[in-house]
Subunit: 98 residues, 10 copies
Amino acid sequence: MSTIARVLTAFLFIVCEPGAIGRLGRALADTDGVAEVYTTTGSADFIAVVRVPDLDALATVVTQHIAGMPGIVRTDTHMAIRSYGRSDETAGFDIGVD
Amino acid sequence: MSTIARVLTAFLFIVCEPGAIGRLGRALADTDGVAEVYTTTGSADFIAVVRVPDLDALATVVTQHIAGMPGIVRTDTHMAIRSYGRSDETAGFDIGVD
Amino acid sequence: MSTIARVLTAFLFIVCEPGAIGRLGRALADTDGVAEVYTTTGSADFIAVVRVPDLDALATVVTQHIAGMPGIVRTDTHMAIRSYGRSDETAGFDIGVD
Amino acid sequence: MSTIARVLTAFLFIVCEPGAIGRLGRALADTDGVAEVYTTTGSADFIAVVRVPDLDALATVVTQHIAGMPGIVRTDTHMAIRSYGRSDETAGFDIGVD
Amino acid sequence: MSTIARVLTAFLFIVCEPGAIGRLGRALADTDGVAEVYTTTGSADFIAVVRVPDLDALATVVTQHIAGMPGIVRTDTHMAIRSYGRSDETAGFDIGVD
Amino acid sequence: MSTIARVLTAFLFIVCEPGAIGRLGRALADTDGVAEVYTTTGSADFIAVVRVPDLDALATVVTQHIAGMPGIVRTDTHMAIRSYGRSDETAGFDIGVD
Amino acid sequence: MSTIARVLTAFLFIVCEPGAIGRLGRALADTDGVAEVYTTTGSADFIAVVRVPDLDALATVVTQHIAGMPGIVRTDTHMAIRSYGRSDETAGFDIGVD
Amino acid sequence: MSTIARVLTAFLFIVCEPGAIGRLGRALADTDGVAEVYTTTGSADFIAVVRVPDLDALATVVTQHIAGMPGIVRTDTHMAIRSYGRSDETAGFDIGVD
Amino acid sequence: MSTIARVLTAFLFIVCEPGAIGRLGRALADTDGVAEVYTTTGSADFIAVVRVPDLDALATVVTQHIAGMPGIVRTDTHMAIRSYGRSDETAGFDIGVD
Amino acid sequence: MSTIARVLTAFLFIVCEPGAIGRLGRALADTDGVAEVYTTTGSADFIAVVRVPDLDALATVVTQHIAGMPGIVRTDTHMAIRSYGRSDETAGFDIGVD
């Protein structure tokens, strides 16, 4: 309920040019709003977990900061709509956008 | 800035069983939060434009109301992150989530 | 029934070069016939809602105005065929082409 | 220019259950608005050429008549937006929707 | 039965560079064997209907005339194998290759 | 030039239910017009080489004989348009349809 | 370096039957090893973040606990191989498997 | 050169019904010709490494033994054509089929 | 049974740059091991039937001779594992690798 | 149980530029951690089997050594999570990460 606790969570699947993987890992980690970044198995080169206060901040991270990095080929954004907690906690709750 | 004007926009691509198209069009239109619904050309059977006040309402529309309708096969949600206006209007603005 | 009210609706899924997203948002919004344009989650960079009086105008928007913008990689057009209204309104109605 | 000559053209890619191909060919050919229907090479079982006077008639053909036939799995509709003529004829012309 | 009436029908799905759509429409329409050409909704930029007397002519249209046009990215050919007529006409008939 | 020598060649990619592979191999080989049939590596379960005198015979093989076999899931037909010979033989020649 | 801090991170993309979304959210959240679970935009119904001490625990979560839940259609696992930290922290570090 | 040493290597990507993963792992490992079997990250449920003396044995493993197991949805076979050794060993060598 | 009769059969799906189709047809036909080559309908530009005595010869054809031709974009190899004969001939037989 | 015996297994699907296949086979085989490398049938050009002691070594092989080789287009990594043994051996066992 507090504005401090509000956060949007998005998972970014990032494909880059093969030779750019090493350089981009650190550049992604240094991007404001990127909470975690990993090289992963599978068809994406990186998965980045973005936690930002609102959609405008998400747009800034995805379309201005990350899309403009040299070597980025595609970014596919999956945004969390609802978070589910354990039964012994509170019920499925709004993840902070109102 | 006013809470009255705040709205999230999402585009839902909905695939259904072939025989259910006729019945589902009206059911989708009657769903709270669905502003427009069309049968369209291409690989989706319907495109629904959802306008809701927050992510929790979006989750309710997508995962509770629409996903539970008999005949729905898949729903792929594309959420608007940032809206762009004409140059003679205000600059790219936040679409209502903060 | 009035020719003034007639409108075709099309949803354009637009993929662009990563570095062109910032610049293209405004250019798309400034295009005649483009009613709304958003960056979105998912595999498209933009979804543009086009509302035009006839198919010829749609062809002009898609193949002449948008396809020619530098940085556009692909445009996939989904055209609305039939609109569905709420049960308490009129039945599924023709969206304005006759 | 005459309303009599106006026609929308759409190409329907139709996938059906393997055992239904024989029966569906004739049923598709008997559908109002279907001008031509072929079994074809490639990933679709049928390509049907639909010529109708307006979008409402197209919606009726696709979502009511064809989608409801037993054995239909999917129909993907590609609608003609603009027709191109030979240089020795008239220039690219509107295909009849206004 | 007459050799005059014999014709092969093929549907070509053509993808081109975005900036080449305007120029290619007329070039395709001017190609011998191309009976109709449209820009369409969906993932192809053009659908061309080719009607030729034999497979050799189809090969010439597809691999020599169209594939060589600057700006063509891919051509996917769907050839009609069998045409279906209405019940009040003759039964499913051979489309002219023997 | 002789009608005896004329032949259409088509490659059928056939996907079937996993448990039907053993039974279908022989059934496909026994089908008139099927010259060769193999289980293969890759995403198809069988590749069948069909050699028939005309398109009507191809339609009969694909849509009546094979599509109706229990356990067939999909058949994707690739038809040969032009055959290429070695430089020390005759030039690219028509494969028998006129 | 401490065994206490060691953790493997995996992102699970989970597709389920449309009617099962509501029920599965809580069931996934209650699964040992699932740190976070969200319904998301895009082609997956859920993204679950799994944090486990070793690969054997990951196998147990994915193939025994989640795959066996009624209504699950597919689970696609993307495992984090290397985590990247900010420049003002330590360099790209091993994520805890040795 | 010895017939004893000859071996074909194939990688099988196996997709199964979600509830069958636990049971199938052991069944696959017990199959003659299957040298290794793993559940893996990514879109396949299992990767099995098959090493057999000849193509006929591979066909028996894939189309008779594995395809017939209850719960198998698809098997995609990638066969090794040529093996590469380290520079300090012998040059790229034939993997045992002659 | 005779080593002379032994042959591996592989089907190569070859995609090339659009402008290279004409030139590549003859080049492929002139390649040792290529028994037949056709331009075809569908998503591949060529299907080549390769018949070679062993896997090493197949590797030479695919990775050295064909992959190196200018204009080749991708080659997807489907290798025959088992051939099926007609019921009035011998049973499913090994296709010549032991 | 011994640290010496611990090993992670990953299967790398590697796509490269057509002209680079010959050169890359040996380069991949010479890469530390690559236990086996093959050209294969199907959509990948190479399958490499990587066996390394931990995830950090896997990241080094995939993102630093292989991704940086000229001619590599994409690498898709499938990591083994659990290995299955025969019934007459020990039960499904952890593959060495703790």
